[in-house]
Amino acid sequence: MGGKPILRDLNLSIPKAKTHALIGPNGSGKSTLAYTIMGIPKYKITHGKILFNKKDVSLLPPEKRAKLGIAMTFQNPPEVKGVTLSEFMKRISKGTFDYDDPIISRLMQRELNVGFSGGEKKISEIIQVFSLKPKLVIFDEIDSGLDINKLDRVVQLMREELEKTHASALVITHRPEILSKMKPDMTHVMLDGKIVCTSKNWRKVWDTVRRHSYEKCKECKLSIHKS
């Protein structure tokens, strides 16, 4: 990005219908990885490939990746004036959407992200990406800035949608609550643009990080395939 390499020697594979978590300190490259998988133009791949269902998508623009089934929720989605969430959903949706929820119904009539609260943004992001009938959803800090009640609502919606669609998920976070609620099949730790640990036991990973900070991940033996 801007000529500065951010991610290096990175290997990550997410099987179908599995949920992986990616944790790491601020600035470690987690969001960069999300944007790179999504294909946001300013993030360029200099070495390596992104394979999606065995297809090399490394050079595809974001809209093509979206059409193939890659979707991501934005941490800070921008305001788009003059179009309501409902109009936008009708435009992008691959099928019908029907939410029997007064909060969502009210949100639908408002301009996309304009004046949305933190929780409203996250809910709007989730219903948008699932309307695309995705095969992989990247949740970029979907839990940031939410109190525990709002987080519960958001996680419940994520779980329901993931169960319905059997989509794979990459949950990027630095909070333990969402891990305990999502129970990821695999947890990865990212430090300085590298995945330094991959473990099936998110609880142990989290305990290590909590007790010894992320630095410990560099030397600990927890990882099933150390890089």
Binding site: P61, A66, F88
Partner: protein, 300 residues
């Protein structure tokens, strides 16, 4: 009743296609009105004998409409319209001016006066749709007597190569006018001059302009509020520039001649944000579709 009209005036090239009005509304071709009706005589202008004279004396049930079109090559229209709305009456007016096909090389030069008498109110929507090689000049004047209310909306989503539109609103005591000008200029030279006069105490109004320029367009937007009496006014100009070949100039002006006037203005010009574009693309819209969505949203 959908599409019902209390008065309708349809004019193509130099011919009237339809002219009718319900009881309580006088609707005549301007040419005829100038001879018969003293009020029309006062506004008569030499060399202008196209257009309508509409006088609303009774509350209409349905909207009023006028549609002036060009369908043949090299037509030159010189229109003079006069609409008078009597005291306390509310009208909804839809005014459409267009070329029915591209490449007609039409000239549409329209002048008009709209008088809203005491306590009268109007929503006046003016929609223009012209071909690239047509020439468009308009000069409309709205006179709002005591406590009259106007909501004026002008929209041109595909302006001709050259257009010059002028709108002047005079607000007397307690009158209120909200003007909104929406233009999407692509390969066009656009000049708009919008002026709001606060001529009576407690008169108030806003001028809101939304202009998008692209493909070598040049837009000059002159908007001003003149405070002659203790009223309130606000100017709000926002532009969006889509490429480096285009240019947009905002000239907002507040002229205060009374110490009890409150006037404010805001103006901003921006571009399409990369962040918004990427966001929409990640939801499956192509770059062009995303730009269109952002532009339409901005002009809405």
């Amino acid at each position: 009743m959908k599409n019902a009209k209390s008065a309708s005036y349809q004019y193509i090239n130099h011919k009237i296609k339809e002219i009718y009005a319900q009881n309580g509304i006088t609707l005549l071709p301007m040419k005829e009105a100038m001879k018969k009706i003293p009020l029309a005589k006062r506004y008569a202008k030499k060399g202008r004998n196209e257009g309508y004279f509409m006088w609303v004396k009774k509350q209409p049930k349905f909207p009023l409409s006028s549609c002036v079109s060009v369908s043949s090559k090299n037509i030159s229209q010189h229109v003079l319209n006069l609409l008078v709305v009597e005291k306390g009456i509310h009208v909804d007016m839809l005014s459409l001016c267009n070329a029915l096909v591209e490449n007609l090389n039409a000239t549409h030069d329209a002048k008009g006066t709209i008088i809203l008498k005491e306590g009268a109110s109007a929503t006046f929507k003016s929609i223009h749709r012209w071909g690239k090689d047509d020439k468009l000049t308009t000069n409309y004047r709205f006179v709002l007597e005591k406590d009259a209310k106007l909501s004026y909306y002008y929209k041109s989503l595909s302006p001709p190569a050259r257009m010059d539109i002028k709108t002047t609103v005079l607000c007397y005591e307690g009158a209120k006018a909200d003007m909104e000008i929406v233009i999407n200029a692509s390969g066009s030279d656009v000049k708009t001059t919008d002026t709001l006069y606060l001529n009576g105490d407690n008169a108030s109004g806003t001028i809101k302009s939304r202009i998008v320029v692209s493909n070598g367009s040049e837009a000059k937007v002159y908007s001003q509020i003149v405070g002659n009496a203790a009223g309130r006014g606000h100017l709000d100009c926002q532009g969006m520039l889509l490429d480096n070949e285009s240019r947009v100039t905002f000239i907002p002006k507040l002229i205060d001649k009374n110490k009890d006037v409150t006037m404010t203005h805001e103006a901003s010009i921006g571009k399409i944000s990369e962040e918004e574009l990427n966001y929409l693309r990640s939801r499956g819209l192509s770059e062009d579709e995303a730009i269109e969505l952002i532009v339409n949203g901005f002009l809405r």
